[in-house]
C-alpha cells in the first residue's frame, strides 16, 4: 500500500435523531485480525513514550496498524458530523496518524419539508470522508478534496431530485437496527449486508477501490450523475514500468506548461480503448484529436492541430488533459536522427512482468537483449540498418521503440550547444551588470568612431564588417556577455569571413547557452538539421556540444524562445 492510497471511506449523517456512521468500507472489524499481525511492526518497542500533558486522555487510535480499528462508531460519527457553520467547505481533520478528508454538505431543509414532511427522521447534513495516512502530501489531499466534493455534490443533487440519500439512509439504518437487535452471539457487522442492499454503499465502495487500484474513478451516482476523478500521483507512478518514480502533479503541471508545437504525443493506452471509455458528454474535439493520433502516431502537435482542424491552443489543452490523466506522454516526434538511451530508472530485471509482456508483443525477442542495445546512444535508424534491413524489420524496430518509450524504459538524448571561445584569460560568463556597462561603452565608442571616421582606420573590407556588426551587438544576448577579446576572437575566425554564415551564427547565438536543443533551434529558426550542423561545424572552435537528457522537471530546459533584444533584429551588414 502506497502512501497516497486511502485507508477507508466513511459516510456519516447527522439529523433529527443525532449522528450516525452509516457506512464504512473496508470493514475493519473483520479484517482486523490478520491486518494486526501483518502490520504490527512497531517502530521501537523500547522507545520512551513522552509523558503528555496531564489533561490529555490516551488516544483511542491504534496508531501503528494504519487502520481505523481504534475508533468506535459513535466516536467517528461524532467527530465527522460537523456543525452547519462548517458545511459547504472542505473538512480536514487529523487524529494521530490518520487524516480525515471530507466535504460536509447541508441539505436544503425547506424543500424537504414540503415533499417529505411525514418522515420522522430527517437528515440535516451528511459527510463523505476519505481516511488517509496523515503523512501524505498536501497535493494529494487537495486531489481527495476534489473527489469528495464531486461525490458529495452528486449525492446532494440526487437528494434534491429524488430523495436518494434519504432512501439509501433508510435502508442502511434499518440494517443497522436489525443487526443491533439480534442476540449477541449472532451479531455480525452490518456493512457487508449494506453493500448488497444499498446502491450508494456500492458506489462508495467502487470509488474507494478504484482509487486504490487505478487512481482513476469513473462512476455514476444513482446511475445518473457522473463522477470522474484522477489521482495523478497514483496514475503516473503506475504508468511507468520503471522502478518507483515519485511523480507529483506540480511536475506534471510544469511539463504541461513546457509544451511546444514541435512536441509529439504518444498514447500510453490503446487508442480505441480510450475512445470507448471516454465520457458520453465529452467534447467532440477530444474524439477528433484522439482519432488523428491513432491514425498518425507521434506527429508533432502542430501537424495534429492541422489534421484535426483544431486550434493549436486547443490541442495543447486537450493534450495536457491526456497527460494529466496518464493516458499520453510527450515525446519528440519519431524521426530517424533521434537518439535514445536506456533510462536510469528502467527495470532491467530478468523475468519481470513487463519482460513477459514484451515477449508476447514481439515474439522471439527478449526485452533484456533489446534494452542492452540501448546501453549506448542509439539512433532510431542507423544508416547501416537502412541498407541491410528489410522494411518489415525497420517497422518492427520503430514499434519497439514506441513500446519502450511508452513504458518509460528509454529516453531521448538531445544535443545542446554552448558558446565558449578558447581563450585562457577568463571565465565564460561575466557578471551581468559589468558586462552590460562594458558593452554599452564599447557600443558608444564604436559607433562614434564609425560615424566620425567611416573607413580611415579600417584597412580591409572584412574587418570593417566585423566592426560594424560589433557596433550593433545585441546587449542582452549571449554575445554581449563575452569580453571584447572574445568578440574579436570570434569575428576573426575564418568562418566569420563569410557574411551569410556570420549572420546566421549571430542569429543563433542566443540559443547557444545549453538551454536549447537542436530540434528546438531548428523549429524556431526554421532550419534543416544539415544547415545547423554545417554551421556548427564551421564554428566548432568556439562551441561545445553536449548530448544530454532533457531536464524533465525544469521548464526552461525545453526553453522558451529567447527574448530578442530589439536591437538584435536590426543587425546590419554592409557588403
Amino acid at each position: 500500500m502506497t502512501d497516497f492510497d486511502p485507508v477507508s471511506i466513511l459516510l456519516v449523517t447527522s439529523g433529527t435523531r443525532g449522528e450516525r456512521l452509516l457506512f464504512q468500507y473496508p470493514n475493519f472489524e473483520t479484517a482486523r485480525t490478520h491486518q494486526d499481525i501483518a502490520k504490527s511492526k512497531r517502530r521501537n518497542v523500547y522507545s520512551v513514550r513522552i509523558a503528555e500533558d496531564v489533561v490529555t486522555v490516551s488516544s483511542p487510535v491504534s496508531s501503528n496498524t494504519g487502520t481505523l480499528s481504534g475508533f468506535s462508531k459513535a466516536i467517528l460519527a461524532n467527530l465527522l458530523s460537523v456543525k452547519p457553520a462548517l458545511c459547504g467547505q472542505p473538512f480536514d481533520l487529523k487524529v494521530d496518524d490518520l487524516r480525515f478528508i471530507g466535504f460536509p454538505m447541508l441539505l436544503d431543509q425547506s424543500t424537504k419539508q414540503q415533499t417529505s414532511g411525514k418522515i420522522s427522521h430527517q437528515i440535516g447534513s451528511f459527510n463523505i470522508v476519505f481516511v488517509l495516512k496523515a503523512s501524505v502530501d498536501q497535493s494529494v489531499i487537495n486531489c481527495y478534496f476534489d473527489l469528495v466534493k464531486q461525490l458529495t455534490g452528486a449525492i446532494k443533487y440526487e437528494e434534491s431530485r429524488r430523495q436518494y440519500l434519504s432512501a439509501e439512509a433508510k435502508i442502511m439504518i434499518s440494517i443497522h437496527d436489525d443487526i443491533a437487535s439480534l442476540p449477541e452471539d449472532q451479531m455480525h457487522f452490518p456493512y457487508d449486508l449494506i453493500q448488497t442492499k444499498s446502491s450508494l454503499a456500492r458506489d462508495l465502495r467502487t470509488a474507494y477501490e478504484s482509487v486504490k487500484d487505478k487512481g482513476v474513478v469513473h462512476l455514476y451516482v444513482n446511475k445518473w450523475i457522473e463522477v470522474t476523478f484522477c489521482l495523478p500521483h497514483k496514475v503516473h507512478s503506475k504508468s511507468s514500468a520503471a522502478l518507483s518514480v515519485k511523480v507529483n502533479p506540480e511536475v506534471i503541471q510544469r511539463c504541461i506548461e513546457a509544451l511546444r508545437p514541435y512536441h509529439g504525443v504518444l498514447l500510453l493506452v490503446d487508442g480505441q480503448n480510450l475512445l470507448d471509455t471516454l465520457s458520453t458528454d465529452c467534447t467532440p474535439a477530444l474524439n477528433r484529436l484522439i482519432n488523428v493520433i491513432i491514425q498518425q502516431p507521434v506527429r508533432s502537435l502542430q501537424i495534429i492541430a492541422l489534421e484535426a482542424d483544431l486550434s493549436l491552443s486547443q490541442v495543447f489543452q486537450l493534450v495536457s488533459h491526456l497527460v494529466y490523466w496518464g493516458k499520453a506522454t510527450i515525446v519528440y516526434p519519431l524521426c530517424e536522427s533521434n537518439v535514445y538511451l536506456l533510462s536510469p530508472s528502467s527495470n532491467i530485471k530478468m523475468n519481470s512482468k513487463i519482460a513477459e509482456e514484451f515477449v508476447q508483443l514481439f515474439p522471439g525477442r527478449s526485452l533484456a537483449v533489446e534494452l542492452s542495445e540501448f546501453s549506448y546512444p542509439t539512433k532510431l535508424w542507423d544508416t547501416q540498418d537502412m541498407l541491410n534491413k528489410q522494411q518489415k524489420q525497420q517497422e518492427e524496430k520503430v514499434s519497439m521503440v514506441v513500446w519502450l518509450l511508452q513504458h518509460g524504459l528509454i529516453h531521448q538524448l538531445h544535443t545542446y550547444v554552448f558558446l565558449m571561445p578558447p581563450l585562457k584569460s577568463r571565465l565564460c560568463v561575466e557578471d551581468r551588470t559589468s558586462s552590460f556597462s562594458d558593452v554599452t561603452s564599447v557600443n558608444s565608442d564604436e559607433s562614434q568612431i564609425h560615424y566620425q571616421s567611416p573607413s580611415s582606420e579600417l584597412a580591409s573590407d572584412g574587418s570593417f564588417i566585423s566592426e560594424e556588426i560589433k557596433g550593433f551587438m545585441p546587449m542582452e544576448d549571449t554575445m554581449s556577455k563575452l569580453t571584447r577579446e572574445e568578440q574579436d576572437y570570434m569575428l576573426n575566425l575564418s568562418a566569420a569571413k563569410n557574411t551569410d554564415d556570420l549572420r546566421l551564427f549571430l542569429r543563433l547565438c542566443p540559443y547557444f547557452n545549453g538551454l536549447h536543443h537542436f530540434e528546438e533551434i531548428m523549429f524556431y529558426e526554421d532550419l534543416t538539421r544539415s544547415q545547423l550542423l554545417t554551421l556548427l561545424d564551421k564554428f566548432q572552435d568556439v562551441l561545445i556540444t553536449c548530448q544530454i537528457k532533457k531536464k524533465r522537471s525544469c521548464p526552461t530546459m525545453y526553453g522558451k524562445r529567447p527574448a530578442r533584444n530589439s536591437s538584435y533584429n536590426y543587425v546590419q551588414i554592409k557588403t
Binding site: K349, A368, V369, K424, C428, N513, I548, K551, M557
Partner: protein, 279 residues
C-alpha cells in the same frame, strides 16, 4: 502549559484577557506556518516554545564500494564534535578511499564505519560517490548547464580540479569540454587518451569527483544479465550466475564476491549468453 499560564495570569478566567488569547493563537498559527517554530512570551515567567519537527528520513545505507567525500573544507570541521569512532575514521577520508579500505586502515569494524558514514551523510558533512576507476563511464546530467552560467561554481571547479603542484590554474574551457565529452560508451581512460588532462593541468580524478559531488555527472553502472542457454563454461562462472539477473551492478558483484573488476570482465566475456546493460 496552559495550566501554568492560567495559574499565573488567570488568562482564561479573566474577561479582559480574552483578546490576548486570540492574539496568541493568531501569532501561534502564523509563526508555525511561516517558520515552523515559535517562541511567544506569555506573562512573566512563561514563554511558549513550539516547533514542528520535520520528517527525517534515513539516508540510504552506505555500501562497501562507496567512497565518502567531504562537502566542506576538512579544516573547518570540528573534530571534537563527533563521537570517538567517527573521529577515528574522519582522518582517513580523502575522497579516493572506499569504505572497506577506510575500515581496514582505521582498524574499525566495517559495519561501524558504514553507520558512522551514514550519520555523516545525514549531517551533510560528506557525500558518498561511486569509486573511481579508469574503466568507469560517466555521463553529464542536465545540471551541467548550471556550470555554464554559474560563475562561482566555475571558480570553485577550477580550484578543485587543478592538478597539485601546477602553478597556473587550468582553463575552464578545457574542463567544460571534458565534462561534455563524457557520455555512454566513453570510459575515463578514453577521455585521458583523447585530452591528456595532465597536460591541461587537470586532475581527472578530482574532475570526476567534483562532477559527482555537484550532481553534474552521473555514473553509468554495468549490469550483466544471464540468459537461459547451455553454454559450456567454467564452474566458477556458473557459481556467479545468480548475480546476473539485472539487479546487481559490476561494482556490487565485485565487492560481494571479492573478484576484481578485470577478472569478472574476462569471465563474462567468455560467455556469449550474458548481455550487458549500462544504465
Amino acid at each position: 502549559m496552559s495550566c501554568v499560564i492560567e495559574s499565573e495570569n488567570e488568562a482564561l478566567s479573566q474577561e479582559h484577557n480574552r483578546e490576548n488569547i486570540l492574539q496568541f493563537l493568531g501569532t501561534l498559527m502564523h509563526q508555525l506556518n511561516k517558520y515552523g517554530y515559535c517562541s511567544i512570551r506569555m506573562g512573566e515567567s512563561c514563554t511558549v516554545h513550539l516547533k514542528v519537527a520535520p520528517k527525517i528520513y534515513d539516508p540510504p545505507p552506505v555500501q562497501d564500494q562507496d567512497v565518502p567525500v567531504f562537502l566542506k573544507e576538512k579544516q573547518n570541521l570540528k573534530l571534537g564534535h563527533w563521537d570517538l569512532t567517527t573521529q577515528q575514521i574522519l582522518s582517513y577520508i580523502d575522497g579516493f578511499k572506499h569504505v572497506a579500505k577506510i575500515a581496514g586502515e582505521a582498524d574499525v569494524e566495517i559495519n561501524l564505519v558504514k553507520s558512522c558514514l551514514q550519520n555523516l551523510v545525514h549531517y551533510q558533512v560528506i557525500k558518498v560517490i561511486p569509486i573511481f576507476q579508469y574503466c568507469n563511464v560517466y555521463t553529464s546530467r542536465p545540471d551541467i548547464q548550471t556550470l555554464y552560467t554559474n560563475k562561482r561554481l566555475q571558480e570553485e571547479c577550477i580550484k578543485f580540479v587543478a592538478k597539485k603542484g601546477s602553478l597556473q590554474p587550468p582553463n575552464f574551457r578545457d574542463i567544460f569540454l571534458i565534462y561534455c565529452s563524457l557520455g555512454p560508451g566513453v570510459t575515463v581512460k578514453d577521455i585521458c587518451a583523447r585530452f591528456n588532462p595532465h597536460a591541461l593541468k587537470i586532475d581527472e580524478r578530482k574532475l570526476i569527483q567534483f562532477g559527482l559531488m555537484k550532481g553534474l555527472l552521473r555514473r553509468l553502472q554495468k549490469y550483466p544479465i544471464k540468459f537461459p542457454g547451455d553454454v559450456m563454461t567454467s564452474v566458477k562462472l556458473q557459481q556467479l550466475y545468480p548475480w546476473f539477473n539485472g539487479r546487481h551492478s559490476y561494482d556490487e558483484i565485485c565487492s560481494k564476491t571479492g573478484l576484481s573488476h578485470q577478472d569478472l570482465e574476462e569471465k563474462i566475456e567468455t560467455d556469449p549468453s550474458i548481455v550487458i546493460s549500462w544504465k
